[in-house]
């Protein structure tokens, strides 16, 4: 007899994270916590040169050190493997990328030799004994210089250009012919920065000679992508590669590209007769050699505006720097176009996009990947136009924003923005800031000679990719669509167990998946066990599975929801049979004997144990027509995408578009040139919120990441390719001490593209970078200085303001007035 009803919508509740109890008590299981019998430890010997020919490699002293089990060189690896798959066509496709350098090194920190020893310290000692003779070559550390091909990184490619394409929509020439104003901007630059997860990359690999299978425990955040690369590289069938992930201490996309190290560890294990090999990345290795975000230069930008300051056309040339090896690139050459017009309504635009290799660390999909560079560019364009035309920064945005009634909005390149209300976000943000009050304070401060600026940044977080966009950069690419798998079952004693092919790194997947299933089964989320972490052998993954690109709330939870619905349907069928009623009469709830299904009419019930018992261990009771009921339901959710038009570069590239609007008040200290944030507001719209504290936490995280990038974090290289910021002392990642108090708020415009109305979120669209650039611009425009770089610290502001070395408006911006 049922006594309780848990009827409640768990989705939307501020449920404490289920993960918290484990993680905050130090009971998480991270890859480096795993110790296996006879485990060996791997250390890389890395190149001090950015560009050099390898003359000789002598491992004899290292190999004979007691406790050293062996070494691996690039030549050994090249002899037994294939180069990694290249995603790009033509010249890019000819690049030969091995996990250890073979004949040349192409960035400082590139691994050249691997040393395997009985302990990490022995491996360290042995690595110092490896003698490598180099012949230095001319390095190229600037993408525009690289495109001259005076010093070529990859001889087999014959050029440093990775990709080029023109994205043109509408009638651009007509827009410029009819423009009232044309604003010309010579050059802008988005700097190179990365992520600093608490946990660096870790790989444990075992190439087991007994079954010739490779076992991985690691913290790669896109393992289904990694195993596709590893399988082809190692010549091992994909089903013979097992990848497991456990708790992961942050990734932000950077851990997607750890597959080269995964390959080396497997080959080292094979050479060591199958003993497991562990590699734990040091912080300096992470900063110099894991992956950086894309650096981009914007050249020859022309903006057409009507007499009211509405943008009618845009033309520009963008050059992207992907570092020494393309790896995940050239996907970034198209991914930015998911947000082609940003939040603005212009229809006519032409962007000539080129990507080049340089002698710097390869890039990876760093949080806000490829879109944030473009969105920063658009936000700079709107602010520069506003300042030049004398239109306030809020007003010029309101004149150009896509309007609420226009959603779903189709962009010039065929993307469909699902929902949004940027005007309302601006209104909420201004209210939270106290806009009018700050304007008065700003005016008073300026009278006193203080440099105070107020900046707005509006941005998009496009989530759930259509991998068909890869065919825009390479028509032969065998990828399109997107999918995610999940499994929901009643175990033998009636436990509800959910598995999903994601690799959470702090996003609270255990909690949000439980909330979704709780609503479907009408039980408390605490009664649901969510198995997080990837495992190829659980068979709940697809080729797109992982955690990246702001998609779990849509792809992951849709898969979980689908699997839970299938389970619910089976439970209803089974319950109707056992309770001798029909399925319409069945309801779900919690009784005295736990979760149950019951007859609404007779009030008879059977609990989950009873249901699971019959299917799993008492099956003779089942009639044959219920043999197909397994209570173990796998569901694959597929995004409703089509393959984009490759020639026109047109199509739906992303399913959901969360948006963020930030406002910052920043003051530049006159004496020290240090920029200080006086006030900060972050407003988020990720559609229906599954769990408010989790969303808020990710907004804070993305805000911190963006503020760090805007003011503190910069991957600096000197002219010969030395990375000058290879430690935390020099890279200065943001800490809690550097964070302003953030005033958070949100609006909800539910997405019509997801079952729940939720949109993927977590990347934040790098809103703080746009916002702080805008605030600094506002502070300095009257001084004749333009913010043309995304990184602005005291040094760069000093050079702009006092030394006049950079960023003078008169040299960078020219306005043609035709009215």
């Amino acid at each position: 007899m049922s006594t309780k009803n848990d009827a409640k919508n768990w989705v939307g509740q501020a449920l404490p994270r289920k993960e918290e109890n484990r993680l905050l008590r130090g009971r998480g299981k991270f890859a480096d916590d795993i110790k296996l019998r006879e485990m060996l430890y791997l250390r890389f010997v890395r190149s001090p040169y950015a560009h050099a020919r390898i003359v000789s490699v002598d491992v004899s002293a290292a190999a004979t050190l007691p406790g050293v089990f062996g070494t691996l060189t690039g030549a050994e690896i090249a002899a037994q493997t294939q180069p990694f798959i290249e995603i790009g066509p033509d010249a890019c496709g000819r690049i030969k990328d091995y996990p250890l350098a073979v004949s040349k090194v192409r960035y400082q920190g590139e691994p050249v030799v691997a040393v395997v020893a009985e302990s990490p310290s022995l491996a360290d000692d042995a690595a110092e004994l490896v003698q490598i003779e180099y012949e230095a070559l001319d390095p190229v550390v600037d993408a525009e210089a690289a495109l001259t091909d005076k010093s070529i990184l990859h001889d087999e490619a014959g050029t440093n250009q990775v990709w080029n394409g023109v994205f043109e929509y509408g009638d651009v020439d007509k827009a410029f012919r009819e423009a009232a104003y044309i604003v010309n901007i010579d050059r802008m630059h988005f700097h190179r920065f990365s992520s600093t997860p608490l946990e660096n990359n870790v790989v444990i690999a075992q190439w087991n000679p007994k079954d010739d299978r490779i076992y991985y425990e690691c913290n790669n955040s896109f393992p289904s992508f990694a195993i596709q690369f590893l399988s082809a590289h190692l010549g091992v069938n994909i089903d013979r590669i097992r990848v497991e992930t456990s708790d992961i201490g942050g990734s932000f996309g950077i851990k997607i590209t750890s597959y080269p190290q995964m390959a080396v560890c497997a080959l080292a294990s094979k050479k060591a007769g199958g003993r497991p090999v562990k590699w734990v990345e040091t912080r300096t290795e992470h900063i110099t050699s894991s992956a950086h975000g894309n650096e981009r230069t914007f050249r020859d930008t022309r903006v057409a505006l009507d007499k009211n300051g509405v943008i009618t056309g845009l033309a520009s040339r963008h050059i992207d720097d992907c570092g020494a090896y393309p790896r995940y690139e050239p996907l970034g050459c198209v991914i930015w176009s998911q947000v082609f017009p940003g939040v603005y309504r212009f229809k006519n635009a032409r962007i000539d996009f080129t990507q080049a290799v340089t002698n710097k660390c390869p890039v990876g999909p760093n949080r806000g990947y490829s879109r944030m560079q473009h969105l920063w560019f658009l936000e700079r364009v709107i602010d520069i136009c506003g300042h030049e035309l004398g239109i306030p920064s809020d007003e010029i945005r309101l004149r150009n924003y896509i309007r609420p009634e226009e959603f779903p909005y189709t962009t010039p390149n065929g993307c469909v923005y699902d929902s949004g209300n940027y005007q309302k976000m601006l209104q909420v943000a201004k209210e939270r800031l106290g806009w009018e009050e700050w304007k008065k304070k700003q005016a008073a401060a300026r009278k006193g000679g203080r440099l105070v600026g107020i900046g707005i940044g509006t941005t998009l977080d496009s989530g759930t990719n259509n991998f068909g966009q890869s065919q825009i950069v390479n028509p032969g690419a065998p990828f399109s669509g997107n999918s995610q798998g999940a499994n929901c079952k009643l175990d033998i004693y009636g436990e509800v167990v959910v598995s999903v092919g994601s690799c959470p790194q702090g996003q609270g997947h255990e909690t949000t998946a439980a909330q979704v299933v709780a609503d479907v089964l009408n039980i408390h989320p605490d009664r649901i066990t969510v198995r997080t972490g990837f495992d190829t052998e659980r068979n709940v993954h697809t080729g797109f599975s992982g955690t990246y690109a702001s998609q779990f709330a849509v792809s992951g939870l849709s898969a979980v929801h689908g699997a839970a619905q299938k389970l619910r349907t089976e439970m209803m069928r089974l319950g109707a049979f056992l309770l001798e009623t029909n399925e319409d009469d069945i309801e779900f709830g919690t009784g005295e004997q736990g979760p149950e299904v019951r007859s609404k009419s007779t009030k008879k019930s059977v609990n989950y144990w009873g249901l699971a018992n019959i299917v799993n261990v008492n099956s003779a009771v089942l009639p044959s027509e219920l043999y197909e009921v397994t209570l173990n339901c796998r569901y694959i959710w597929r995004a409703p995408f089509k393959v984009p038009d490759k020639q026109k570069k047109y199509g739906s590239l992303t399913l959901t578009y969360a948006s963020q609007l930030h406002i910052a008040v920043v003051e530049i200290e006159r004496d020290t040139f240090i920029p200080r944030i006086l006030d900060y507001v972050a407003v988020d719209d990720c559609g229906t919120v599954i769990n408010p504290p989790i969303v808020e936490g990710q907004v804070y995280g993305a805000t911190a990441h963006g503020i760090g990038a805007a003011l503190m974090e910069n991957c600096v290289y000197d002219a010969v390719g030395n990375m000058l910021t290879s430690t935390f002392s020099d890279y200065t990642p943001i800490t809690a001490m550097n964070m302003p108090k953030v005033k958070y708020d949100h609006i909800e415009t539910p997405s019509p593209h997801s079952y729940s109305g939720a949109k993927g979120m977590g990347e934040g669209g790098a809103a703080p970078i746009h916002t702080i650039s805008a605030a600094l611009q506002d502070a300095l425009f009257a001084s004749g200085i333009m913010i043309d770089d995304s990184f602005n610290n005291a040094d760069s502001l000093f050079r702009a303001m006092v030394a006049k070395e950079i960023s003078q408006i008169k040299n960078l911006v020219r306005v043609e007035k035709r009215v």
Binding site: P48, Y49, Q108, A136, D718, A719, V720, L724, S726, D730
Partner: protein
């Protein structure tokens, strides 16, 4: 990271004498600051060992040197490449000799390029330290060539203080 250097000095020796000194590894290399040892491979190739140290990063660098240009008595140019803990260095140092009244004008110029983590860990210190070392070499060279017994192996200068 590149450190460029250049300068000149005058000595009361003939260009031939100066050239012979500069092109003799046994005499030239011993003037390198913190010189520890020398092995000569042939008439134009030799390897020197020098102590290097910045703060707590200390060790020995082995620098393979080549007398790349030898135009007696006008010009001598060395090229070198070495490695040390945390970094590698490539260097070029040239000496142009011009006869003057009663002696020789020695114009010297060169460039050292430093690669590796050292540039990040000690970047701000490297350039002043490098220039100090080079000045020490030139001072030693000038002193040795100024002495009457310049034909003999000069006494190496005192080890340099590390920052």
């Amino acid at each position: 990271m590149a450190i460029k250097f250049a300068g000149d000095f005058e000595v009361k020796r003939s260009p031939e004498e100066v050239y012979d000194f500069l092109s003799d590894p046994a005499r030239f290399a011993a003037l390198l600051p913190d010189f520890q040892g020398l092995s000569i491979q042939d008439s134009t190739h030799f390897t020197v060992k020098v102590n290097v140290g910045i703060s707590y990063i200390k060790g020995t660098a082995e620098v393979k040197m080549e007398l790349a240009q030898a135009e007696r008595p006008k010009r001598a140019q060395y090229k070198g490449q070495g490695s040390m803990a945390g970094g590698n260095v490539t260097l070029m140092a040239g000496f142009d000799l011009e006869p003057i009244d009663g002696g020789t004008k020695v114009a010297w110029q060169g460039e050292a390029q430093i690669f590796g983590r050292l540039t990040s860990m000690a970047g701000g210190l490297l350039e002043p330290l490098g220039k100090k070392q080079i000045q020490k070499l030139i001072d030693g060279l000038q002193a040795a060539l100024g002495r009457q017994d310049a034909g003999a192996t000069p006494v190496p200068p005192e080890p340099m203080e590390t920052a």
